[in-house]
Subunit: 456 residues, 2 copies
C-alpha cells in the first residue's frame, strides 16, 4: 500500500469525475473504483434522449470508457458491490461475482448515488420487482427495457411531472405514444418553477400530452404479469378513474443510497442524505461523499438540500478528487442549484432555493428574445427574486429561448452577492439578430427595483 491509496465507491458522474481529478492531482496514487453496475461513467441525464432517439445509441452515453480509465491508470471494477467499509482498519470489502475483495484505502470517496422512489401504488411489485412493463429511469438497462417496451402498445402513463417525468413525456410522445402524466402536486415542475412560470410550460405541453395535476396513482391492474390500467384519484374531488396503459414510468423522486456510509458512522442530515462540507468531507476522517447520496446547504437559506443535479455531482467530484489526492479544493459556501431542461421545444431554467421563507420581492418580465422588428424572436419570461430588506438577488427562473444561459447570469449574480440595483444596470450584449437592447434579464430586475422603491 502506497501513501495515498484512494478508493471510490460508484462510477457515476460524481465518482468518475472524482477519479479523474484525483489522478490529475497525484500522478502516482493508486486509484480504485468499485461500481456495482455493468457500465463505466455514463450520462444518466442523457437517458431520455437516447430513448427518443435524439441520441442514436445508448452506448453513446458512456462518457469515459473502460479503456479510458485503464489508460489513466485507474482500476475500475465493474459489477462489484461494496459490502462494508471497515473504518478501523481502513479497508473496503467488496464482492465481484463470488470473489471477495479486500482493499485498503487512505482516502475513501462514497458516490453511491440514489435509487428511484416508488410511491405506494398497489400491485406494482411482483416478487419484490416492478412488473414487466413498469419502469423507473435510472440506468442504461432501464432505458433499454423502456425502448423495447415502446413497441408493445400506444398508451404510456408517467407518474411525476418533474424534470425527468416531462423529459420522458416528450420522448415517448416523440415516439408516437399517447402520454398521460399524473402529478400529485397542484402544479407541474413544482420543485423548479413558481406556479405562474410553470403555467407557461403547462400551456405548451397540454396541447401535446395529457397532464393530470393533483392526482395520485392508487393501484394498477395486472393482466398476465403486465400493467393494463392505472387507477388514479383526484386528490381534491376524490374522483377515481382508470387509464389504459401499455407502459408505466415512475419518476417520483429518489432515495439516497446511504447504508454503507451510515454503517461507517458518517453523519446523516435532515434530508436523509450524507452530510458533507465544502471539501466534500463527511464526519468520518478520510471519508468523502459526493453526488446524489449527499446533502449540502443552499447558498441563500443555508438549509440543507439533497444534491439532485449532475452538475453539482461533477463539481463535488472535482473537489473530492483533488482533496483525496492531497490537494485543496473548496466548493462555494452553498449551492446555487442552477438547473435547466427542455421539453416540447421549450427551454426552462432556474437558480436559487425552491422554498424561500425570507420576505422576498419578485418581478416578472414577459418579452421576446429578439427586438420586435427582427423576425424569428421567441417568447422569453424571466422572474427574479430578491431579499426585501437588502435587495440581494436570491433566485431566478426563466422559460423560453436561451432560458439556461440567461439564468447563468443570475447564478453569477447570486454567487457574487449582487444587488438588484446593480444588476438592473448590467450592460447585456445587444445585436438585432441576437438579443434586444434591454434584455428580459434586466427588465425583470427593473420591475423588482420599482416594487422595492414603493415599499420604502
Amino acid at each position: 500500500m502506497s501513501n495515498n491509496d484512494i478508493i471510490i465507491i460508484g462510477c457515476g458522474a460524481a465518482g468518475g469525475t472524482a477519479a479523474q481529478f484525483a489522478r490529475k492531482t497525484d500522478r502516482k496514487s493508486q486509484i480504485t473504483i468499485f461500481e456495482k453496475g455493468k457500465y463505466p461513467q455514463y450520462s444518466k441525464c442523457g437517458l431520455p434522449y437516447a430513448i427518443s432517439g435524439k441520441i442514436p445509441k445508448l452506448e453513446n452515453l458512456i462518457e469515459f470508457s473502460e479503456e479510458w480509465f485503464k489508460k489513466s491508470n485507474i482500476d475500475l471494477l465493474l459489477e462489484t458491490t461494496v459490502e462494508k467499509i471497515d473504518i478501523e482498519n481502513k479497508i473496503v470489502i467488496a464482492k465481484k461475482g463470488k470473489a471477495i475483495i479486500e482493499k485498503p484505502y487512505c482516502s475513501l470517496i462514497i458516490a453511491t448515488g440514489a435509487s428511484p422512489l416508488i410511491p405506494p401504488i398497489k400491485n406494482v411489485f411482483e416478487n419484490d420487482k416492478l412488473i414487466e412493463n413498469i419502469f423507473t429511469l435510472r440506468t442504461i438497462d432501464d432505458a433499454r427495457n423502456i425502448i423495447a417496451s415502446i413497441k408493445n402498445g400506444k398508451n404510456a402513463t408517467i407518474i411525476g411531472a418533474g424534470l425527468i417525468g416531462l423529459e420522458m413525456a416528450d420522448s415517448l410522445s416523440d415516439k408516437g405514444m399517447n402520454v398521460t402524466v399524473v402529478e400529485a402536486l397542484p402544479n407541474i415542475l413544482q420543485n423548479t418553477l413558481n406556479k405562474d412560470m410553470s403555467k407557461i410550460v403547462l400551456n405548451n405541453i397540454e396541447t401535446k400530452v395529457k397532464i393530470l395535476t393533483n392526482h395520485i396513482a392508487t393501484s394498477i391492474e395486472n393482466k398476465s404479469g403486465k400493467v393494463s390500467k392505472v387507477s388514479i384519484k383526484n386528490q381534491e374531488t376524490g374522483e377515481e378513474k382508470n387509464i389504459e396503459t401499455d407502459l408505466l414510468i415512475i419518476s417520483a423522486g429518489l432515495k439516497p443510497n446511504i447504508s454503507l456510509a451510515k454503517d461507517a458512522g458518517c453523519n446523516i442530515g435532515k434530508t436523509g442524505h450524507i452530510i458533507v462540507n465544502r471539501k466534500c468531507e463527511t464526519s468520518v476522517k478520510n471519508i468523502y461523499a459526493i453526488g446524489d447520496c449527499t446533502e449540502f446547504y443552499d447558498i441563500i437559506t443555508k438549509n440543507p438540500v439533497p444534491i439532485g443535479l449532475g452538475s453539482i455531482a461533477v463539481r463535488q467530484g472535482i473537489a473530492s478528487g483533488v482533496n483525496a489526492a492531497g490537494g485543496n479544493y473548496e466548493l462555494p459556501d452553498g449551492l446555487l442549484q442552477t438547473c435547466t431542461s427542455e421539453f416540447f421545444g421549450m427551454e426552462i431554467a432556474s437558480v436559487g432555493p425552491n422554498f424561500i421563507k425570507l420576505p422576498v420581492v419578485s418581478g416578472k418580465y414577459n418579452g421576446m428574445s429578439l427586438p420586435h422588428y427582427f423576425p424569428g424572436g421567441k417568447p422569453i419570461s424571466v422572474k427574479v427574486f430578491v431579499e426585501e430588506k437588502t435587495g440581494k438577488i436570491i433566485a431566478a427562473q426563466a422559460v423560453g429561448k436561451n432560458a439556461a444561459k440567461r439564468i447563468d447570469t443570475f447564478a453569477c449574480a447570486i454567487l457574487g452577492d449582487m444587488n438588484v440595483e446593480t444588476l438592473k444596470k448590467l450592460e447585456t450584449a445587444y445585436a438585432p439578430p441576437i438579443a434586444p437592447t434591454l434584455d428580459a434579464e434586466t427588465l425583470a430586475c427593473d420591475i423588482v427595483s420599482l416594487k422595492l422603491s414603493r415599499k420604502r
Copy 2:
C-alpha cells in the same frame, strides 16, 4: 414655460429613450425633440438586416412612431436642425425649412450622434458628396440607396472589417454579390477580439468572401460619375492592385457630432467626444449628453472610451431622461462595453476594455455547446482575461454558439467585481440538449486559475 421644460437634440436610440424616460418620470413636463432626419427613433443596428432582407421592410426598423411620441405627449419635430444653444438665456435655436424656432429649456439633452468617417481615398467625393455608388451606412436613406444599388452589379467592396463592415459583407453576400473586405489593420474585428479569437471568425468568413487585411484603399476610378475600381495597397509589401467594384461601402469608424456642445462650452475629452458623468451631465449646468457623441470611462481601466454601442446609448437615455425630469439615476461606475454580432452564421461577443495595459493573464477554452454525446453541438471558444495581481475578471471574448449570453455572465462578473477563483466554481445550468456539465465559461476560468497558481 413650465418649471421643467426638456429639450432633446436628436431622436436616435439615445435621444428617443431619453424622451420616454423623462416622460415616465414626470407626467407634466414639456418635452421637445429636434431631429434633423426624416424618421422618428429607429434601429440603426438593424440596417444591415434590412438590406439583406431578413428584416422585410426598412420601415419595420422604426421602433417608436410619430404617433407614439404624440400619444406620449412628446413634441417630435423632424427635419429640424438645431443651429445654436444659447446657454445664457437657456434657449435652443433651430431651423425647420425656413422657419426659425426658439425654444427655452430647463434641461437640455444633447444626443447628436456621430457621422461616418471617410478615410483619405482619392476621388470618392464630387461636390463634397460621395459619388453615386459609394455609401456609408448610418441612416434609413443610406440603406435604401444601397438596396437600390445592389441591382446594378455583382462586385461589392467594403472598407473596414469591424462589426458593421462584416455585417454588411454577410448581407451583400446573401444578396448574391461577390464581396471583398479591405481592412487597414492586421486583423479583422481588431476592436472586439484578440487575434487568436478573430482568427476563428476569419477562417469561417474566408470561405465566403475575400478578406484583405493590412490593406488600405488609396483611390477609386470614377467612370461616368460612378466608382468602377478601387485601388488598394498592401501596407506590408507596398504592392498595389485594383478591385472591380460596382458598390463601395465605407465602414471605417465614426466621428462624433460635437460642434453644438462645444460651442455651448461643454468639455470635450481625450477621445474627442463630449465628457459626461454617471448621470450623463456635461460640464455645463442643465446640459446632458448621451450616445455616440459622448465618451465615458471604462470600468476596469478608467480610461475614457467613445460610446459606440446602441445598448449603452439606451442606458444613457434612461439615465439622462430620468435625471432631466427631476429623478435620480446613476449609471455604473464605468462601461462594460458588452457587445455582440453575428455574421455568416457565427456569433461573436466580448466584454471589457479593448486595450489593456495592466499585467493580464488570459485563458482560452475551445469546446462544444453541448455534451459530446449529444448530436448538434456547435463549437464555442471562450477567452477570459484577469488582472494578474488580484485574479479579478476584467474582460472576456467568445466566438460560437450562444456567445452573447455566455458573455453576459462575464459582464455580470465584471460588474460584481468577481474573482476568477470564485467564477470558475459557478454552477452553470446543465442539461444534455442545452449545455455541458462544465461549460466553456468556467473551463476558461480554470485555465487562467491554473496559470495564476503557477506564477505564485
